[in-house]
C-alpha cells in the first residue's frame, strides 16, 4: 500500500530567461515499510523533492499525498502539526537542538505535540541505536556518528509515516557512514518504517530496497515504473 504519492510535482524558480525547473513533473510512489534511496547529481532536484515531500516548501504545481492526505492544501500551522506527527527528518548536519540533551531531543517532537512518549518504544529505539549511555549528554559532546544516531532516534520516536533523510552520511567518514546506513536499514525493517533517503553516493544507494534516480528535475529511473 502506497504511503506516499507525488503527482506531477513541479518547482520553478525565477522567471523568463532565468527560469529554473528544479522539479519537472515528478511522480513517485513509496509503499509502507519501503527503504528508498533518491540519487542524482548535485543540483538535480533531490533536496527540492525532499522539501516538497516534507511539507517544508510548496511546489509550483502538483500534489503530495501522505497516508491519503494531500498535504500541500493544508494551511501553514496545520501542515506543521501534520509534519510533526507524520514525518521524521534526518539531516546531513544532524540538526539536533543544541539546548536539549540527547533524551530531550529524541522526545521533543512527541512532547511538542502534547503527547506522552511511548516509553517502551523509545527505550527500544535507544537500545537499538546504542544511545543508552549518552542520554544526558548535550549534542556538542557527541561525535558526528552519535549525533546522527540521535537524529535517527528522534525521527523514529513519533512513529511517523515517512522518515526523510537528506544526505544522512554526508558529514561522516566512510566507516561511520556505512554503520549509519546499515542501522537505518535495520531499524526501517525492524519498525516497518518507510524511509526515503537522499544521497549522491551510489554505493550507499545500493543498500536501499529501491533507487529512484533524478536528473535535471525529472525521474529517470526507479520512480515512474512504481508510480500508480
Amino acid at each position: 500500500m502506497a504511503v506516499l504519492e507525488t503527482k506531477d510535482l513541479r518547482k520553478i524558480y525565477g522567471n523568463g530567461e532565468n527560469e529554473v525547473h528544479a522539479l519537472d513533473g515528478v511522480s513517485i510512489s513509496v509503499d509502507e515499510g519501503e527503504f528508498v534511496a533518491v540519487v542524482g547529481t548535485s543540483g538535480s532536484g533531490k533536496s527540492t523533492l525532499l522539501n516538497m515531500i516534507g511539507g517544508l516548501d510548496r511546489p509550483t504545481s502538483g500534489s503530495v499525498t501522505i497516508r491519503g492526505k494531500e498535504i500541500l492544501k493544508m494551511k501553514d500551522e496545520e501542515l506543521t502539526i501534520f509534519r510533526r506527527r507524520n514525518i521524521g527528518f534526518v539531516f546531513q548536519n544532524y540538526n539536533l537542538l543544541p539546548v536539549l540533551n540527547v533524551y530531550e531531543n529524541i522526545v521533543y517532537p512527541i512532547e511538542i505535540d502534547g503527547g506522552r512518549a511511548d516509553t517502551e518504544f523509545i527505550r527500544e529505539i535507544i537500545h537499538t541505536l546504542g544511545l543508552e549511555k549518552k542520554l544526558k549528554n548535550m549534542p556538542d559532546h557527541l561525535s558526528g556518528g552519535q549525533q546522527q544516531r540521535v537524529a535517527i532516534a528522534r525521527a523514529l520516536a513519533t512513529k511517523p509515516a515517512i522518515i526523510l533523510a537528506d544526505e544522512p552520511t554526508g558529514n561522516l567518514d566512510s566507516k561511520t557512514s556505512m554503520d549509519v546506513i546499515l542501522l537505518m536499514r535495520s531499524v526501517s525493517r525492524q519498525f516497518h518504517q518507510t524511509t526515503i533517503m537522499i544521497t549522491h553516493n551510489e554505493e550507499i544507494a545500493q543498500m536501499a530496497d529501491r533507487t529512484i534516480r533524478i536528473e535535471d528535475g525529472k525521474v529517470v529511473a526507479g520512480g515512474v515504473q512504481f508510480a500508480r
Binding site: T80, F82, R83, F89, V99, Y108, D113
Partner: protein
C-alpha cells in the same frame, strides 16, 4: 486540527536557551533595568512634583478647605449642614489679635483663633508641619505658630512655658499669661495663635458673631458655584474660596508624558534590537524547531516567555534602583523648587503606589511591544531558508575588482558596510549619542551660575509686596515694608545698593477727550465688544466705575532711569527726561508690538488722585508709552490691578518727584538688593533672612538668587542626567548593532576571508581578531 501548545517542551527549550545565551540575557536584563529605571525616575519626579505642588497649595493657603463663610446665621448653618455635597464642616472663631510692638518697633501681627477638632484635624493639620505639644484644652492654654513665637522674641519654645500676652478680644484689650500647650511651623508667613474652646465659651464667642464655617466640598469648582445658589447670603456676606486650577500640573504631566514616550521609544529600540539580534543569530535554530513541528504560536510563546523572564528580573531591579535613587534625587530636584512666600517648602518624598504601578505597566508594555516583532519574525522563519542560513546578511553584493581585497583594513571596511541600513543605524546612534554627550556636557560646563544670575536677574535679592501682584485686591494695600527695614538692609556689610520702588493706587479722572482714543483701541480688543456691548455702553460702564472711585491703576516709581535714554534712542517722540525727573510727566505702560493702546495717551494730560490720606487731584502729562522692550524691571513686572477693569492703563510710571507730587504716603512695593561680591551671596542671604525675621507683616515675598543658583544647578543636573541617559541609550543601541554586525560578519570572515588571509600567508589566529578590531575602530 489546532495548534497544540505543550508548555513542558517549550519550558525545556526556553531553559536551555537561557543557559546558552548568557551574554544576550545580560544585555536584555540590562536594557530592561535601564528602561524601567528611567521610566520610574520620570514618574517618581513627576508625581512627586505634583504631590508637592498640591501640598504647597494647601500650605500657602493655610487650609485644605475649599470654601468658608464668615458669621453664618443659624439658618444658614443648618442649610449648609443639610447639603449632601458638603463633605467636611469645620468651625473657626476669630478671637482677636495680639497687641504690642517688637524690638524694631513694629506692630505685632498675630491673629488669635479657635479651631474645633474637625477644622484642626481635617483642614489645618495638613497645612502645617513640625507640630509639638497639643491643641489648647484649658482656658489659659495657647498654641502658637513659629512665626508668632519669632515675633514675640521666643527662640526656644518649651512646653508649659509662660506666655504673657497683651491682646484684643471681643471685649477689648486684655492682659493675660497663657501656658504654651504647643507650637508648629506654618507656611503662610502670618503669626497665628490658637486658644481653647473653653476660652471662647467663657468669653462669649458665638458662631453668628465671630464664627467661620470652613467647608470641604465634593467637587470643585462646580460645588463652589452650587453652594452660592443653594445658600442665600445676608448683606456683606460672601463665600470665600479659591477656585484653583493648577495649570502648571498640566505642563508637568505633558513633560512626564513626553519623557516617558521618549524613554519607551529608546527602551523599545534597545530591547527590540537585543531580541532581534538574538533571533537573527538563532534563525537556524528556530527554523529547525519549525521543521520538527513547532508551530508559530509555540515559537512566539517561546520568545515571549523569555522576554517575560527577563522582565521579571529587570523590572523589579529597575524599580528598586530607581526607588533608591529617588530618595536622593527627588529632594534634590524639588527642595528649592517650592519657594513661596517667606517659607521655602520642604519637599516631601512620596512613595506613591501609582509611581510603581505605572512604571511596571509601562515597562512591561515596552518589553511586550518590543518582543512582539522579533517573536513574529522567529515564528515566520521558513524552515527551508533557515536550514540554508549561515548567519550571512542577504542582499545584492557588488563585485569588487580590487587588488586590495586581502588587506585587513579594506576587509574590515567592507564588512562594516555589508548591510548599509544597519551600518547607518550604528553610525547614527553612535554619532547622536556622542553629540548629545558632548553637547550636554559642553553646554552645562560652559555656563556658570554667576553669569546666569547676572544675565537673568535684575537684583541679587528681591522683596515684593504681594498685595500689588494679586489679580484683584479687595482692600487698600497695607504697607509691608517700612523705611527702617530699608535702612536695616543698607547697613548689612557687602550690600552695594538698595533700590526701593514705591507704588500707590490712583484714580484717573474720567476725561473722555483725553481717554477716548485709548479707550477705543482697548475696546476693540475687549470682552465688552465680544459680549456685544457698544462702545458707548462700555464708556457709560467705565464712567460708573469712575463715579464709584474705582477707575484707576497703580502708579509706581521708575527705578531704572537709564531706560529713559534708551527709550529716546528707540522712539521718534522722545521723553523730556528732565520734566519727568521733576515729576511733571508720567509714562504709561505696557504696550506690545501688536497692540499699543497706551501710545494713544502720549501727549494727553491725565488727572490722577492717589488713594491715600493726602491724595489730591494732580495733573500729569503723559510723555511716553513703554512697551515690554522699553522697560523691564522685575520689581514692577508683577504689578497687577486692584480692580479688574479692562479698559484702563495697566500701570503708570512716575519719578520720585512725581510720586511726591501725587502723595507722600506711597507704599514700598518692591526692594531690590545688589551686593558687591558674589562670594558673599550666601552670607548676605543669611543676614537678610535675619532682618526678615523682624518684619511682622506677611504679604510679601523674598526671592534670593541663592535659591535660583541652586535651582539653576539642579536644572542643569537634570539636563545632565536626562541628556546623558538618552545618549547612553543611543550609544548602547549603536554598540549592540555593531556587535550584531560583527557577529554576522564572523561567519563570512571565517569562510570567505580566512581562505584569502591564509593564502596570503597570514595566520587565522592573528588576522581574524585584528580584522574585528579594525572594524571596531572604524
Amino acid at each position: 486540527m489546532h495548534a497544540n501548545r505543550n508548555k513542558k517542551a517549550i519550558r525545556r527549550v526556553k531553559k536551555g536557551m537561557m543557559k546558552a545565551n548568557r551574554t544576550r540575557n545580560l544585555f536584555m536584563v540590562f536594557a530592561i533595568i535601564l528602561t524601567t529605571f528611567m521610566i520610574t525616575t520620570v514618574f517618581s519626579l513627576g508625581i512627586n512634583y505634583m504631590e508637592n505642588m498640591e501640598l504647597m497649595q494647601v500650605r500657602t493657603a493655610g487650609t485644605c478647605a475649599d470654601v468658608s463663610l464668615a458669621r453664618p446665621a443659624a439658618e444658614q448653618e443648618q442649610q449648609i449642614r443639610a447639603l449632601d455635597y458638603v463633605d467636611i464642616i469645620g468651625i473657626q472663631y476669630m478671637v482677636g489679635s495680639v497687641a504690642g510692638k517688637n524690638d524694631e518697633g513694629r506692630e505685632l501681627s498675630i491673629a488669635l483663633q479657635y479651631y474645633d477638632t474637625t477644622e484642626w484635624e481635617k483642614h489645618f493639620r495638613e497645612a502645617i508641619s513640625k507640630v509639638n505639644g497639643h491643641y489648647p484644652v484649658s482656658e489659659n492654654e495657647i498654641m502658637l505658630s513659629e512665626d508668632a513665637l519669632s515675633q514675640l522674641g521666643i527662640e526656644t519654645p518649651a512646653p508649659d512655658m509662660e506666655i504673657p500676652l497683651s491682646y484684643y478680644d471681643k471685649t477689648g484689650r486684655q492682659e493675660k499669661t497663657f501656658t504654651l500647650s504647643g507650637w508648629f511651623h506654618s507656611y503662610t508667613g502670618a503669626g497665628m495663635g490658637f486658644l481653647s474652646e473653653e476660652y471662647c465659651k467663657n468669653a462669649g464667642y458665638t458662631m453668628q458673631e465671630d464664627g467661620v464655617l470652613s467647608l470641604s466640598l465634593d467637587k470643585m469648582p462646580d460645588d463652589f458655584w452650587r453652594i452660592q445658589d443653594d445658600v442665600p447670603l445676608n448683606e456683606g456676606q460672601s463665600f470665600s474660596g479659591a477656585v484653583s486650577m493648577s495649570s502648571s500640573n498640566w505642563s508637568v504631566i505633558m513633560m512626564v508624558i513626553l519623557l516617558v514616550l521618549f524613554i519607551i521609544c529608546s527602551g523599545y529600540l534597545l530591547i527590540y534590537n537585543v531580541m532581534y539580534i538574538s533571533i537573527s543569530k538563532d534563525t537556524r535554530f528556530y527554523g529547525l524547531m519549525k521543521t520538527l513541528g513547532t508551530t508559530q504560536a509555540q515559537i512566539k510563546t517561546l520568545v515571549k516567555s523569555q522576554a517575560v523572564t527577563f522582565a521579571c528580573i529587570g523590572i523589579p531591579a529597575g524599580i528598586l534602583s530607581a526607588a533608591a535613587v529617588s530618595l536622593g534625587l527627588v529632594p534634590l530636584f524639588l527642595n528649592e523648587g517650592f519657594e513661596q512666600g517667606r517659607s521655602a517648602m520642604d519637599a516631601e518624598i512620596f512613595f506613591h503606589p501609582s509611581i510603581y504601578v505605572l512604571s511596571v505597566i509601562f515597562s512591561a508594555a515596552t518589553v511586550w511591544i518590543a518582543c512582539n516583532t522579533p517573536a513574529k519574525k522567529a515564528a515566520k522563519i521558513s524552515p527551508v531558508e533557515a536550514l540554508r542560513y549561515h548567519n550571512f546578511t542577504s542582499g545584492k553584493r557588488k563585485s569588487r575588482n580590487s587588488t586590495n581585497g586581502g588587506r585587513l583594513h579594506v576587509m574590515a571596511f567592507y564588512n562594516v558596510f555589508r548591510d548599509k541600513k544597519r551600518a547607518v543605524l550604528v553610525f547614527m546612534s553612535l554619532f547622536m549619542g556622542i553629540t548629545i554627550i558632548l553637547g550636554v556636557n559642553g553646554v552645562v560646563g560652559s555656563i556658570k551660575g554667576e553669569n546666569f544670575i547676572k544675565e537673568y536677574f535684575d537684583y541679587n535679592f528681591e522683596y515684593t509686596d504681594t498685595q500689588f501682584t494679586q489679580a484683584e485686591q479687595d482692600n487698600k494695600e497695607v504697607p509691608q515694608f517700612d523705611g527702617h527695614f530699608v535702612q536695616q538692609i543698607e547697613k548689612i556689610d557687602g550690600v552695594e545698593s538698595v533700590t526701593v520702588e514705591k507704588t500707590v493706587w490712583a484714580g484717573i479722572d474720567f476725561d473722555r477727550s483725553a481717554l477716548d482714543e485709548f479707550m477705543r483701541i482697548k475696546y476693540e480688543d475687549s470682552s465688552y465688544l465680544a459680549k456685544g456691548k457698544s462702545y458707548e455702553e462700555t464708556v457709560a460702564e467705565l464712567r460708573d466705575y469712575a463715579d464709584a472711585g474705582e477707575y484707576g491703576c497703580y502708579v509706581t516709581t521708575l527705578v531704572d532711569e537709564n531706560a529713559l535714554e534708551e527709550y529716546n534712542q528707540r522712539h521718534d517722540m522722545p521723553i523730556d527726561i528732565d520734566a519727568f525727573l521733576r515729576g511733571e510727566t508720567a509714562i504709561v505702560g505696557k504696550d506690545n508690538e501688536q497692540f499699543a493702546p497706551n501710545a494713544a495717551l502720549v501727549g494727553k494730560t491725565l488727572t490722577l488722585t492717589a488713594d491715600s490720606r493726602d491724595g489730591k487731584a494732580t495733573d500729569f502729562l503723559i510723555s511716553g508709552a513703554f512697551s515690554f522692550d522699553d522697560y523691564s524691571d522685575s520689581l514692577s513686572e508683577g504689578i497687577d490691578r486692584r480692580r479688574n477693569i479692562e479698559i484702563v492703563p495697566d500701570i503708570i510710571f512716575v519719578s520720585e518727584a512725581g510720586m511726591e507730587r501725587l502723595t507722600k504716603e506711597a507704599v514700598i512695593s518692591g526692594i531690590g538688593v545688589d551686593i558687591k561680591d558674589m562670594s558673599q551671596l550666601e552670607w548676605i542671604d543669611r543676614e537678610l533672612q535675619a532682618v526678615n525675621g523682624t518684619l511682622t507683616t506677611s504679604e510679601w515675598e523674598y526671592n534670593s538668587t541663592v535659591g535660583k543658583l541652586e535651582e539653576f544647578d539642579q536644572m542643569f543636573y537634570s539636563v545632565n542626567l536626562l541628556g546623558n541617559g538618552a545618549a547612553i541609550l543611543l550609544i548602547v543601541l549603536g554598540l549592540l548593532n555593531f556587535v550584531k554586525r560583527s557577529l554576522n560578519g564572523c561567519m563570512i570572515l571565517k569562510t570567505e576571508k580566512t581562505g584569502k588571509i591564509c593564502g596570503d600567508g597570514q595566520s587565522i589566529a592573528v588576522s581574524f581578531p585584528a580584522g574585528l578590531h579594525m572594524e571596531g575602530r572604524m
